[in-house]
Amino acid sequence: MNDLTIQFIPYSELAYLTPYRRVKKLLELVSENKILIIQGKLAPEEEADLIQETMKQIRESKSRKKFKGIEIATISPKSKDLSIMQNITEKLATTFFGGRDMITIIGPATVVKDIRKDPSKIELYLRK
């Protein structure tokens, strides 16, 4: 495996960007083969935008190391006791990026094979 970069992004670095810029920034970083650990959580609409932009980028990718998409998961420190729906309701409380106490992990699919999540933990499986 080549060098692996893990980048932590504090809440303040994304909170004041527009949703469009936020999604673009995250995708730019992931395209550089970085695994992002983000303090906070995208709103559902932003997640949908992220998926749509990811698909566009896969289609347009012509580089030798082709972009194949992303793996993404979010976890809340309280999520052991929360259902998905309660987690979503918490996220909806903020219109856009929010949930300072939540952690989102995004990685490029060329590096991260799978992110397995259950209510209390996230496991990253990397490609060899």
């Binding site: 709103a43 559902p44 609409e45 997640e47 949908a48 998926i51 749509q52 990811t54 698909m55 566009k56 896969i58 289609r59 194949k68 998409g69 992303i70 793996e71 993404i72 998961a73 979010t74 259902s83 998905i84 729906m85 309660q86 987690n87 979503i88 309701t89 996220k91 909806l92 699919a109 992110i115 397995r116 999540k117 259950d118 209510p119």
Partner: protein, 214 residues
């Protein structure tokens, strides 16, 4: 004009009496290979005699939105007309090399991959047009995957009623309890779209779902 007013009046009264919308745009959403088209086909076949689309073991078989208009469904004494909207599976990654394992040529795999990316974008765009949505989850897979969370989050934000279907319960290893515990606020119905197992339960849940359509 007078006839129209009288017709509309009775239509309103009738709708209020039974408390649900009679023409429902029903979307089938979920990750690839969960069985969305198999379920949409079963419903369409049950009530119109025709299927909506082809199914395959190769992921992303459905790469365009598919419809079946005017599907009249009756359950007990209730009746409603549906427009069934089968959507391409939503994914966060698509790699043409994955299709090669299913025997596709490189050219076919690359074409499928390109079409699949378009399909995902279309599925998300269509979320706004749904009256109600059935989320189809493979009951062998982890329900906590981010695609399910994103779809549900977007439906909640748009106030679109949701029914969750745990599909493939006829196969060994199906874990409906895990889906139930992930989505305790929703009706979860375990079915096999392929064999037709529990379809009565599905139709009952479907009519409960459309009561919530505004």
């Amino acid at each position: 004009m007078a006839i129209e007013i009288i017709t509309n009046f009775f239509h309103r009264i009738f709708n209020n009496l039974f408390n649900y919308k009679k023409h429902v745009k029903l979307g089938f959403y979920g990750p690839p290979n969960a069985g969305k088209t198999t379920l949409a086909n079963r419903i369409a076949k049950d009530w119109t005699g025709e299927e909506i689309g082809t199914v395959s073991k190769v992921p992303h078989e459905t790469r365009e939105i598919q419809f079946k208009e005017k599907v009249d469904i009756k359950f007990d004494s209730k009746k409603a007309t549906f427009k069934l909207i089968d959507t391409p599976g939503i994914a966060t990654k698509i790699d043409y090399e994955d299709f090669l394992h299913f025997g596709l040529s490189t050219k076919e795999a690359k074409k499928r991959s390109k079409e699949a990316t378009r399909g995902v974008i279309e599925s998300i765009k269509w979320l706004d047009d749904m009256d109600a949505v059935v989320i189809v989850i493979d009951s062998h897979e982890n329900p906590y995957n981010q695609v399910n969370v994103t779809i549900i989050g977007n439906l909640v934000a748009r106030k679109i009623p949701v029914l969750i279907v745990g599909n493939k319960v006829d196969l060994k290893g199906a874990d409906l309890k895990k889906i139930d515990s992930a989505f305790p606020e929703y009706d979860v119905v375990g079915i096999s779209a392929k064999t037709g197992k529990n379809m009565e339960e599905f139709y009952e849940a479907l009519f409960n779902l459309i009561k919530k359509v505004k």
